[in-house]
C-alpha cells in the first residue's frame, strides 16, 4: 500500500467517459474537486459537500457515488462516468431527451447528479415503478421543480430504452 503525504500531490489516473485522464491531487482532494478543477470537467456540480444533496453524483466503476464523499486518490485506476459522457456527439440520449421534453429541470444545477443516478438506476431497473423512481430520487435535492416532471421523465425514458432494447434484440 502506498503511503500518501499530506500537502504533497500524487498522480491520479482515471478513465473518464472512456478516455484516459491523468492529474495530480493532494490526499485530501475530493473526487468532485479533482474532476472540476484538475480535469476541468465542470458538468459535475457541488451542492453541499457533505453527501446530502446528490448534485455531484457520478458513476465510479459502474456504481453511482457522491463525488464529494470520495477522495480522488482512492479512485486511482477507476473508470468514471460523468454527465459529459451521456450525449454522443451533441445528441441527447434517451434520458436527456425525456428530461428536456418533460421540463424536468429548471436551474439545472442538480441535474447532472440526478441524470447519473437515474442512469445507474435504469441500468439495474429497466422497468421501474413510480414509487421506485421516487425512492431513488429521494437521494437528491431539487429546489426548483416539484420533482413530478423528473419522475415522469425517468419513467418515460425507461419505456423508450426498453422499447429500443427490444428492437435491438429482435433484429439479429
Amino acid at each position: 500500500m502506498i503511503r500518501l503525504k499530506p500537502g504533497s500531490r500524487h498522480p491520479v489516473a482515471l478513465t473518464v467517459n472512456e478516455k484516459a485522464c491523468t492529474g495530480t491531487a493532494e490526499p485530501r482532494t475530493l473526487l468532485s474537486d479533482f474532476l472540476r478543477h484538475e480535469l476541468k470537467l465542470h458538468g459535475t456540480h457541488v451542492g453541499c459537500e457533505h453527501g446530502v444533496c446528490g448534485a455531484c453524483t457520478v458513476m465510479v466503476d459502474g456504481r453511482a457515488v457522491r463525488s464529494c464523499m470520495q477522495l480522488a486518490v482512492e479512485c486511482d485506476g477507476a473508470s468514471v462516468r460523468t454527465v459529459e459522457g451521456l450525449a454522443q456527439d451533441g445528441a441527447l440520449n434517451a434520458l436527456q431527451r425525456a428530461f428536456n421534453r418533460h421540463h424536468a429541470l429548471q436551474c439545472g444545477f442538480c441535474t447532472a447528479g440526478i441524470l447519473m443516478s437515474a442512469t445507474h438506476f435504469l441500468s439495474e431497473n429497466p422497468n421501474p415503478t413510480e414509487d421506485a423512481v421516487k425512492e431513488m430520487l429521494s437521494g437528491h435535492i431539487c429546489r426548483c421543480t416539484g420533482y413530478y416532471p423528473i419522475v415522469a421523465a425517468i419513467l418515460d425514458a425507461a419505456g423508450e430504452i426498453c422499447a429500443a432494447n427490444r428492437i435491438t434484440k429482435e433484429k439479429p
Binding site: 451542492g47 457533505h50 448534485a55 444545477f109 435535492i141 416532471p149
Partner: protein, 800 residues
C-alpha cells in the same frame, strides 16, 4: 379589428404564427444544462484568478478585540489578508431604507464588520489566495479575539429593548406600521362570532443548490469592472457597484449566465460579494467568491420569522365583518440593502384578508432587529404568512359557525363581477376570479366525494384532513414597490429584437433566467409576434452591456413585464419587415404578411419572399432599395406597468393529508392548485412554477426552520439538519387554470412564480387541523413537525 401588422397574440383572423402562445414548448436552453455544458460562476476560468474566503464571527454579537494576520499572510499562496477597515477604503457603506416605508431605519453596513460583529456568520476578515484550499488553510491561521456583547435573540426581547443593538438608532425597532380602515371596533362589538388565534412562522432560507457566487474582474488600464454574478437583477447591481466602488456606471458590466437557483435569495446586496468586488479593485486582478454550504446557511438571507395574533369577526349567517392583526417579525441586525427588510411585514399588512369582501380592517406591524442573520425578500415575500393566517382564522370561524369551509369562503370571496375593486386593506384589484377558481378547484378535487371518504375513514380511525387556502398575489409590480421609495431598481423592462441577415431572430431582454423558462417563453412570444418559427429565435439575457436596461427577475414580473416588451418590440419589427418587403416587391404593405419565416401574400397565403432573402437585401444590397428608404431590422421597446400598483393575481389551493396520531407524522396525499395568472404562455412551464412553488411552501409548513440557540448560534447549518422537501414525501400536485388576462398589457400575462409558495403552507396547515379536529387538537406553529403535532395531541388529551 386590429391592423395586420398589429398582431393579436392569440389572433385567429390573420395567418400568423399564433401557435406558440399557450403551447407546452420545451425550452431550448435546457439542452446545455443536460449535457453538463452550463456556465455557472465556478465554471469560469480567468488568468490570475484569485479566490477569497471569509473568516466569520463565531459570536452573535461581539466586539472584535484583536485580529492577527501575521501567520495567515505568510501561508502558501496567500495574496492578501484584510480586515473591514482596509476594504472600506474601496467600498462605501450602505443603509437599507426606503422612504415610502415611513420611519424605517437601519444602521450603516460595511462589506466586512469593523470593530463589532452583529450576527454569527458576519464576515470579520477576508483571505485571498491563489486557490480556495490555500485561502481556507490560511483563514485558519488568523488569530481572532472577541469580547462577547449581550445578544438580542428573542423578538419580544428585541421589542422590549433592554439591550439596543445599534445605540445610535435609539431602539431595536426597524419599522412599524398601523392601519385602521372602516370601523373595526364596531364590527367586533356587533359580531355574533369572534375567533382569535396566534400563529408563528419559522425562519427559513432559500437553500439554492449553487451557493452565492461572484467573480469580479477589475481592469485598471481602463478603470472598468466586469462582474460575473449569480444575481437576479444585473442592472440594479451595476448601479450599486458603480455607486459604492466609485466607478462610472458605463464602466461596470454585470454578466449573469447560469444561476443554480435563486428564489429571491440572489436579488440582494451581500457584504461578502461587495467585498469581493472591492478586493478585485484593490488587488487589480480577478477575484472569485463562492459560498460553501455552511456559509450559505449563515449568510444567505433568511426570511419569514413572524409571530402574529389575528382576530376575525363574523355574523352567524357567515358574513366576515372584520380582520384585526398584530404582526411581530425579527429581521437580524440590519435592514438588507437596497430592498429593505421591512417589505415582508408590510406585505403581511397589505395582503391579510385580501380575498374577502369585508370592509373593516386593522393591522399593526413591528419589525425588530435581532442578533441573528439578516432576513429579506424570499420567494412569495409575506404571502405565505398572510395567506396562512387569513385562511387559518377563516377555517376557525367556519368551524365555530358549523359551516363547511368551502361554503364559508364562497359567501365571503369578492364576487367575480365586482372589479375593479378596492379591498379593505386599500389594495386595488383590476380583475380577479376567486369564484371561478373555487368552483374549478372543488370540481378538480371532487370535494364532496373527498369529504364523504374522510367521514368514512374517520370511523375506522384514519385521520384525514382537507385544507383550503384562497390567495391573492402581488405580481408585475409598478414603481410603487421600490422606485417611489428611492431605490434605484427598475420597474421597467426592455427587449431588443433584431432580424439577422439569414432570417434568424435575436432577442435581447433585461429579464434574467434562473431556469424558470424566461428565455423559452420570450422565444415563443417573439416568434409569434414576428412570424418566424421557434428554431429561428435566439434569446440573450443577463448582460448589462448588451441587453436593454431593466429590473430583472423578482416579484413574479419576468413574463408579464419583460414579455410585454418582447411582444411590443416584435410587433414593431414585424411592421419594419413588412416595410422592407413592400419596398422590395413594390407592392402595398397591407397586402403582405409574415408567416413561417417568409413574406406571404396576405390574401392567398402564397409565398412571396423568404426572410433570409429579405435580410440579404436589407443588409448587403440596400443599394437595390429606393433611394430614401432606410431599413430598420432592430427594434427596442420597453414596458412599465403603471395603471395599478401591482397586477394582482388570485388562486386557491387545497391539500389532502393523513395524520398518524401515534407518531405525529403527516402524510401528504395530494395537493391541488387553481391559479389565474392571466394569459398562460407555456402551460408546462407555468405548471412547474406552481409545483416547484408548492413544494417550497410545503417545506416551510412541515420541515424547514433555522434553529438558533439562546446565544444566537445557528444550530442546523447543514443540509443534513435543515430539512427540505425530497421526492419521496411530496404529493402529486394537480394544477388548474382560469385565465383573466390583465388589460394593462396586450400580452395579458400576470406573474405565477410565487403562487405555489404563497398558498401551500396555509392549505397544509388547514388540512392538518382538519385532520386533528376530531381529536380536539390544533397546531399553529410552523413547521408542523411530528413533535409539535404530538405536543398538540398531548395537550388535547390532558384537557380531555
Amino acid at each position: 379589428m386590429t391592423a395586420r401588422d398589429e398582431l393579436p397574440v392569440k389572433g385567429s383572423k390573420t395567418r400568423t404564427q399564433a401557435g406558440y402562445i399557450g403551447k407546452a414548448e420545451p425550452r431550448a436552453n435546457a439542452k446545455r444544462l443536460l449535457q453538463g455544458r452550463g456556465s455557472f460562476i465556478d465554471d469560469l476560468r480567468f488568468p490570475r484568478l484569485a479566490q477569497v474566503v471569509f473568516l466569520r464571527s463565531p459570536h452573535a454579537h461581539a466586539k472584535i478585540r484583536k485580529l492577527d494576520f501575521s501567520k495567515a499572510r505568510t501561508a502558501p499562496g496567500v495574496i492578501a489578508v484584510v480586515d473591514g477597515r482596509a476594504v472600506a477604503e474601496y467600498c462605501t457603506p450602505w443603509v437599507g431604507v426606503l422612504s415610502h416605508l415611513k420611519g424605517l431605519k437601519s444602521a450603516p453596513q460595511f462589506p466586512i464588520a469593523i470593530d463589532r460583529a452583529c450576527w454569527q456568520g458576519e464576515a470579520v476578515a477576508a483571505v485571498v489566495a491563489e486557490t480556495r484550499a490555500q485561502a481556507e488553510d490560511a483563514c485558519e491561521l488568523i488569530v481572532a479575539e472577541y469580547d462577547p456583547l449581550p445578544a438580542v435573540i428573542d423578538m419580544h426581547e428585541a421589542l422590549a429593548g433592554r439591550h439596543v443593538i445599534h445605540p445610535d438608532l435609539g431602539d431595536n425597532i426597524c419599522f412599524n406600521r398601523e392601519v385602521d380602515f372602516g370601523a373595526v371596533e364596531a364590527a367586533f362589538a356587533k359580531a355574533d362570532v369572534v375567533v382569535e388565534e396566534s400563529y408563528s412562522f419559522g425562519r427559513h432560507t432559500g437553500v439554492c443548490l449553487e451557493g452565492r457566487a461572484i467573480l469580479a474582474d477589475y481592469n485598471a488600464a481602463e478603470h472598468t469592472l466586469t462582474v460575473h454574478h449569480a444575481t437576479q437583477a444585473p442592472h440594479m447591481m451595476q448601479d450599486i457597484f458603480s455607486k459604492h466602488l466609485n466607478i462610472p456606471e458605463a464602466n461596470v458590466r454585470v454578466i449573469c449566465r447560469d444561476i443554480g437557483g435563486a428564489y429571491g435569495i440572489k436579488v440582494h446586496v451581500y457584504p461578502d460579494e461587495m467585498c469581493t468586488a472591492a478586493l478585485s479593485i484593490m488587488l487589480r486582478r480577478p477575484v472569485k467568491f463562492v459560498a460553501d454550504r455552511m456559509e450559505s446557511f449563515l449568510s444567505d438571507i433568511h426570511a419569514r420569522e413572524h409571530k402574529v395574533k389575528v382576530r376575525l369577526a363574523a355574523t352567524k349567517a357567515g358574513e366576515i365583518l372584520a380582520f384585526d392583526l398584530d404582526d411581530l417579525t425579527a429581521i437580524g441586525p440590519y435592514s438588507v440593502y437596497p430592498r429593505t427588510s421591512g417589505i415582508e411585514g408590510n406585505q403581511v399588512v397589505n395582503l391579510t384578508g385580501g380575498p374577502y369582501k369585508h370592509q373593516n380592517y386593522r393591522a399593526k406591524l413591528n419589525v425588530v432587529f435581532t442578533n441573528k442573520n439578516v432576513t429579506c425578500q424570499y420567494r412569495a415575500v409575506g404571502h405565505p404568512i398572510a395567506v396562512a393566517l387569513t385562511e387559518g382564522i377563516v377555517d376557525l370561524a367556519a368551524q365555530k359557525l358549523g359551516m363547511d369551509p368551502a361554503e364559508f369562503r364562497r359567501r365571503n370571496l369578492v364576487p367575480d363581477d365586482a372589479y375593479p375593486y378596492t379591498g379593505a386593506a386599500g389594495m386595488k384589484f383590476e380583475l380577479l376570479s376567486h369564484h371561478q377558481c373555487l368552483d374549478k378547484l372543488l370540481a378538480l378535487m371532487d370535494y364532496k366525494a373527498l369529504r364523504a371518504e374522510q367521514a368514512e375513514l374517520r370511523k375506522k380511525g384514519v385521520y384525514r384532513g382537507i385544507g383550503l387556502a384562497a390567495m391573492i398575489e402581488v405580481t408585475n409590480p409598478s414603481p410603487a414597490f421600490y422606485g417611489v421609495g428611492g431605490a434605484r431598481i427598475s420597474a421597467q423592462d426592455g427587449a431588443t429584437l433584431r432580424l439577422e441577415p439569414t432570417g434568424m431572430l435575436t432577442v435581447l431582454s433585461s429579464v434574467t433566467e434562473q431556469g424558470q423558462g424566461t428565455e423559452g417563453i420570450f422565444a415563443q412570444i417573439a416568434a409569434t409576434a414576428v412570424g418566424v418559427t421557434m428554431d429561428k429565435v435566439k434569446v440573450i439575457t443577463g448582460d448589462t452591456s448588451t441587453t436593454p436596461y431593466g429590473g430583472g427577475t423578482w416579484a413574479s414580473r419576468g413574463a408579464g413585464i419583460g414579455g410585454e416588451a418582447v411582444l411590443q418590440a416584435g410587433k414593431a419589427l414585424r411592421s419594419n419587415i413588412l416595410d422592407i418587403a413592400a419596398a422590395i416587391l413594390s407592392v402595398d404593405k397591407a397586402t403582405l404578411d409574415v408567416y413561417n419565416n417568409e413574406i406571404i401574400d396576405a390574401a392567398s397565403g402564397a409565398s412571396r419572399l423568404p426572410l433570409a432573402e429579405l435580410g440579404r437585401v436589407a443588409y448587403f444590397r440596400p443599394d437595390t432599395l429606393p433611394m430614401k428608404f432606410q431599413s430598420e431590422l432592430m427594434v427596442t421597446r420597453h414596458y412599465t406597468p403603471r395603471e395599478y400598483g401591482f397586477t394582482f393575481t388570485n388562486g386557491i389551493q387545497a391539500s389532502l393529508v393523513e395524520i398518524h396520531p401515534d407518531t405525529g407524522f403527516v402524510k401528504l396525499l395530494k395537493h391541488w392548485c387553481v391559479e389565474d395568472c392571466g394569459t398562460v404562455i407555456n402551460p408546462m412551464l407555468v405548471d412547474e412554477q406552481i409545483r416547484g412553488g408548492v413544494v417550497q411552501g410545503i417545506g416551510g409548513a412541515l420541515f424547514e426552520e433555522c434553529h438558533y440557540s439562546e446565544d444566537g448560534q445557528l444550530l442546523n447549518a447543514s443540509m443534513a439538519d435543515y430539512l427540505v422537501p425530497m421526492s419521496g414525501e411530496m404529493p402529486d400536485i394537480v394544477c388548474g387554470h382560469v385565465e383573466s388576462p390583465t388589460k394593462s398589457s396586450e400580452l395579458g400575462a400576470k406573474g405565477v412564480g410565487e403562487a405555489g409558495t404563497a398558498g401551500a403552507p396555509g392549505a397544509v396547515m388547514n388540512a392538518i387541523n382538519d385532520a386533528l379536529a376530531p381529536l380536539n387538537a390544533r397546531v399553529n406553529s410552523m413547521p408542523f413537525t411530528p413533535e409539535r403535532i404530538l405536543d398538540a395531541l398531548g395537550a388535547a388529551n390532558a384537557k380531555g
